[in-house]
């Protein structure tokens, strides 16, 4: 059953703008900046934002702080689980250019090489006011339809895939999944023995 939704686009955009559910995947030090945002000082729920543990029903993905290759794998998997349209908000300078971990072997330098970032907030760490400013910006972008990271990810998937594979190596998903299996199996055997 096909319905022409373009008539309702303004309403839908308003709804998308005013009910951004955050996937609670707070990496790095910015996770500490979330509680003040959520609690009574700067109450984000005023804008209908709500922390949400499951990515399937989340819209806004907060990358709060530095990203290591380990985390980036999970971030990519979680990001791909989110249904379109989905938005990414990067906190602080680490996702931009590595920040103070510029020479660290285990900190991603340019996050937007691996997943599209809609809004990035500078600062180390940005204060809640700055984060709220970024969220306001994100709302404007959503309303004007400029927050099209999910479209870019679909269109330039080869580019992102290439960067991810250069960083992690081909077939990194299976490799990461199987990494622990021998040790888990051993553990299981020990458990059976006892």
């Amino acid at each position: 059953m096909m319905v022409d939704w373009r008539l309702y686009e303004p309403l839908i955009n308003f709804a998308r703008k005013r009910s951004m559910w955050i996937v609670a995947f707070c990496t790095g030090c910015g996770g500490i900046e979330m509680p003040p945002l959520m609690t009574s000082r700067y109450d984000l729920e005023r804008f209908g934002m709500m922390p949400n543990p499951a990515p399937r029903m989340a819209d806004l993905f907060l990358i709060t702080g530095y990203v290591t290759p380990k985390t980036l794998k999970r971030i990519i998997i979680t990001y791909e689980m989110q249904p379109d349209p989905k938005y990414v908000l990067a906190h602080g300078s680490c996702p931009l250019n590595g920040g103070i971990y510029w020479d660290g072997y285990n900190a991603i330098k340019h996050l937007d090489k691996y997943i599209p970032v809609d809004v990035a907030i500078a600062g180390c760490m940005p204060r809640p006011e700055a984060v709220m400013d970024g969220i306001k910006k994100m709302m404007e972008l959503i309303e004007t339809g400029k927050a099209d990271g999910w479209k870019r990810y679909k269109e330039n998937y080869e580019y992102y895939k290439k960067n991810q594979d250069e960083l992690f190596g081909e077939g990194w998903r299976e490799k990461t999944a199987r990494r622990w299996i021998p040790w888990l199996m051993n553990k299981k055997k020990e458990g059976d023995r006892q």
Binding site: N97, G104, N106, L167, R179
Partner: protein, 175 residues
């Protein structure tokens, strides 16, 4: 500032362990230097002299001496004294071997895995050394470690394609 308690402990331990040399650094800090092959006996001795907890195994890379120094940090709740047990082993990867103390202090398993991953020290008898720890597999294959002779900056540039970003000779960067 009296150090009788520390002195007493050090003497008590030294007379049982003649191979070791011990000093008192300051209040509640004592320090021992022992040959690497006696580490197990010495830690057993410490455990008998109620040093209940192993807090950390630190590895220090002395590039010029060509040695790696392992610092076993023990803590005694009864004396409230923090003991450093220092031992030095050769630096080259195949010779950097020391017996494990996992059976004496079970927690040592974790610290030994840590030291093995970042300083390539082999603890003989610990079968979990190869278990995945902090480093990703691709980093491990590239030989990433915290030894001083490893060119970390070069590796980072290569890994993250940052060749155009830093000058080679500059020492201090300001971002």
């Amino acid at each position: 500032m009296n150090l009788e308690k520390e002195q007493m402990i050090v003497e008590k331990i030294l007379q049982k362990a003649p191979y070791a040399e011990g000093t008192v650094r300051r209040q509640r800090r004592i320090e021992f230097r022992i040959p690497p092959d006696r580490i197990r006996d010495f830690l057993m001795l410490l455990k008998e002299n109620n040093f209940e907890t192993m807090m950390q195994i630190t590895a220090v890379d002395w590039l010029k001496d060509g040695e790696i120094e392992l610092v076993y940090q023990m803590w005694s709740y009864t004396h409230a004294v923090h003991a450093f047990v220092k031992t030095r082993i050769p630096r080259d990867v195949d010779k950097a071997r020391v017996p494990t103390v996992r059976d004496i202090y079970p927690v040592a398993e974790t610290y030994e895995r840590d030291a093995h991953e970042f300083y390539k020290v082999t603890f003989e008898g610990n079968d979990k050394l190869e278990m995945p720890w902090i480093l990703e597999d691709e980093d491990k294959e590239a030989g990433v470690c915290h030894r001083k002779d490893f060119d970390m900056l070069g590796y980072v540039k290569k890994k993250y394609k940052l060749l155009d970003r830093f000058e080679e000779d500059k020492e201090d960067y300001v971002i």
